[in-house]
């Protein structure tokens, strides 16, 4: 193993944390949907890709800065997620887990390949003048878009936390997550809560997409790179745990960054998958202890 000077390692850790926060945001949507609907949403990655294309179109066609595009895209993707759960996943799954697995897989195949048919496999990116800017933090140089991503991810997590704790909708969501029959008996519309939760999870993706775009690229398969990472985070943080998702995101960000540094780019992804398999095999309840 090569030896790197401490500044380089520190910078890798810092960059890992910055990327990790956005990973955490992607995982947040996934874990929320799992916690409430008890389903693993295989379409999560494809929906992220869709959101990234939406942000790219907003920039290319309307000249909208990706950070500004957050404002229109969040309600649009909330509505999209709501509709998808209400009209596709809900009716098609008929309450069976294996069906949900297959329906969300089908959805991801459709979305990914529809985007391939429309945008072809070219890699697209946005040109914004702050993309290359760096912020000096002591001896480290941190990329500006990543620092913004880090900050906004935490803001979104905080908003979500308040929403779940303080509002009636949040209480309803938590009630359904704990005991769906009981919640239905006291008059909560479970189908509506499911769809709202799915909508929130999809809205998280819209934010993540807008944060990623200035420093990243988009192609029809880009979501796949994130989805396994997001699954890893969700499993690591405990399925359904919101703080677990964020913490797990930071951990995975650092792991990826360090294994990229020591093993090179092509083998760097391996660290994540190995962690994923190990956690699934030996501690499927996650490190932060939510119930199985």
């Amino acid at each position: 193993m090569r030896n790197f000077p401490p500044e380089i390692v520190m910078e890798a850790v810092a960059n890992g944390l910055l990327t990790g926060a956005v990973y955490g945001l992607v995982a947040l949507g996934l874990t929320l949907v799992y916690g409430v609907l008890h389903i693993i949403n295989f379409a999560h990655g494809a929906l992220l890709t869709l959101a990234m294309y939406a942000a790219w179109v907003a920039w290319a066609a309307f000249g909208l800065d990706p950070y500004v595009a957050i404002l229109p895209l969040v309600p649009i993707f909330f509505a999209l997620g709501y509709g998808v759960q209400r009209l596709v996943i809900g009716p098609a799954s008929r309450g069976e887990d294996s069906n949900i697995l297959l329906v969300t897989l089908g959805l991801s195949i459709v979305l990914e390949n529809a985007m391939l048919a429309i945008f072809r496999s070219d890699t697209l990116s946005v040109q914004v003048d702050y993309a290359m800017e760096v912020i000096e933090a002591g001896p480290m140089l941190l990329s500006f878009p990543r620092v913004v991503g880090f900050g906004v991810a935490f803001v979104v997590a905080a908003v979500l936390f308040v929403l779940l704790r303080m509002t009636d909708t949040g209480r309803a969501i938590r009630a359904v997550a704990k005991e769906r029959t009981g919640a239905a008996l006291v008059g909560i519309d479970v189908g509506h809560v499911y769809a709202v939760t799915f909508g929130i999870g999809t809205a998280c993706l819209a934010v993540a997409a807008c944060l990623l775009l200035p420093s990243f690229y988009v192609n029809p398969r880009v979501g796949n790179a994130f989805v396994l990472v997001a699954f890893t985070i969700v499993v690591l943080g405990g399925m359904g745990s919101v703080p677990g998702a964020l913490l797990g995101g930071l951990v995975i960000g650092v792991v990826e960054s360090l294994s990229g540094l020591y093993l090179g780019d092509s083998l760097g992804q391996l660290g994540i998958f190995v962690i994923f398999i190990l956690v699934l095999l030996f501690k499927p309840t996650g490190l932060f202890g939510a119930r199985a």
């Binding site: 693993i40 697995l101 195949i109 391996l270 998958f273 095999l281 030996f282």
Partner: protein, 313 residues
């Protein structure tokens, strides 16, 4: 097994074997060979997923292992391709057993099992893309040497018959499994694992047998793919496309039935070809149709549509 169990399979084989007599067009035989290879991969998935109810999202791990073993051993060590093909099947079943042992021992079911198989396939993909032994990112080319002794045939018809024979063997094996004690136990585990255990079924052993056989069949498909197309890279061998193909065909044709994967694979690929003819070569359009079909089949299960295919019940 009775004559009624075996006859439809032999009949299918006999009718399908006539194809090269009537069809000499290369593209059509090409299409048929590719579809048959996928039938084999899908039958592998069907044994574990259809009969055993363990939905794998990572059958690429077995397909790729069969394919790479077949290719690497002959290219690097000059071993006879028929031997490397068998070695590929053996290695794929070992990989299947190990993945099964690790995940079933840890009690992974449902979505968790789907996720862990997906992750294993991805690990193999990243590894085979990175190490020079498998040709790395550039891929691996099997030198052209068209002799029957070399598992390469001058006419596509012979390769077609060979693949068809293997598909018939797989169908017979699946039928034998369905009628065996192991098959009954496997279905019991699918329907209710706890109840099956309670009546004395060794669920771990049953699931391990299923995944080993399943991996062997899908590995054989991988080996045939390598031998037919004579080229491999990490996204062909271990890519998600084959995991999806292997899963879609049985689900659409009827999971847990002997002919389901064959029907599914033929439907899917005929549809894909038909779309290509109608709208031209738009990338991804065939998979959009696959996805829509998958959602529709889950939404409206065609159980009442093809009852006679489910055998005597």
């Amino acid at each position: 097994m009775t004559a009624r169990d075996v006859l439809p399979i032999l009949l299918f084989g006999a009718v399908a074997a006539l194809l090269p007599v009537f069809v000499t067009a290369g593209t059509l035989l090409n299409f048929a060979i590719f579809t048959l290879i996928l039938c084999l991969a899908a039958q592998g998935w069907n044994i574990l997923g259809g009969f055993g109810g363990q939905y794998s999202f990572g059958h690429a791990a077995f397909f790729g292992t069969g394919a790479y073993a077949t290719a690497v051993l002959q290219v690097r060590y000059g071993v006879n391709p028929y031997v490397t093909f068998l070695a590929g099947i053996a290695l794929a079943s070992v990989v299947g057993w190990v993945i099964g042992f690790l995940s079933f021992r840890s009690g992974l079911r449902g979505s968790y099992f789907a996720l862990v198989t997906l992750a294993f396939a991805e690990v193999f993909r990243v590894l085979s893309n990175a190490v020079p032994f498998t040709g790395g990112a550039a891929g691996l080319l099997i030198p052209l040497n068209q002799r029957a002794a070399n598992f390469q045939f001058e006419s596509r018809g012979w390769f077609y018959l060979l693949v068809l024979a293997l598909v018939v063997v797989a169908l017979l094996l699946t039928r034998a499994l369905e009628r065996s004690r192991l098959g009954a136990q496997l279905v019991a585990v699918r329907e209710n694992e706890d109840a099956a255990r309670a009546v004395g079924v060794d669920a771990l052993r049953v699931k391990l047998s299923a995944i080993t056989l399943s991996a062997a069949m899908t590995g054989a498909a991988g080996g045939l793919y390598a031998q037919y197309f004579l080229y491999l890279d990490s996204t062909i061998a271990y890519g998600t496309w084959i995991s999806v193909e292997a899963l879609l065909a049985p689900i659409i044709g009827g999971a847990g039935t002997v002919f389901g994967p064959v029907i599914g694979a033929v439907i899917l690929h005929t549809l894909a070809e038909a779309t290509r003819m109608m709208v031209g070569r738009i990338p991804g359009i065939d998979l959009v149709i696959y996805g829509v079909l998958l959602i529709l089949v889950v939404r409206f299960p065609p159980r009442n549509l093809l009852p006679w295919l489910r055998g005597r019940r």
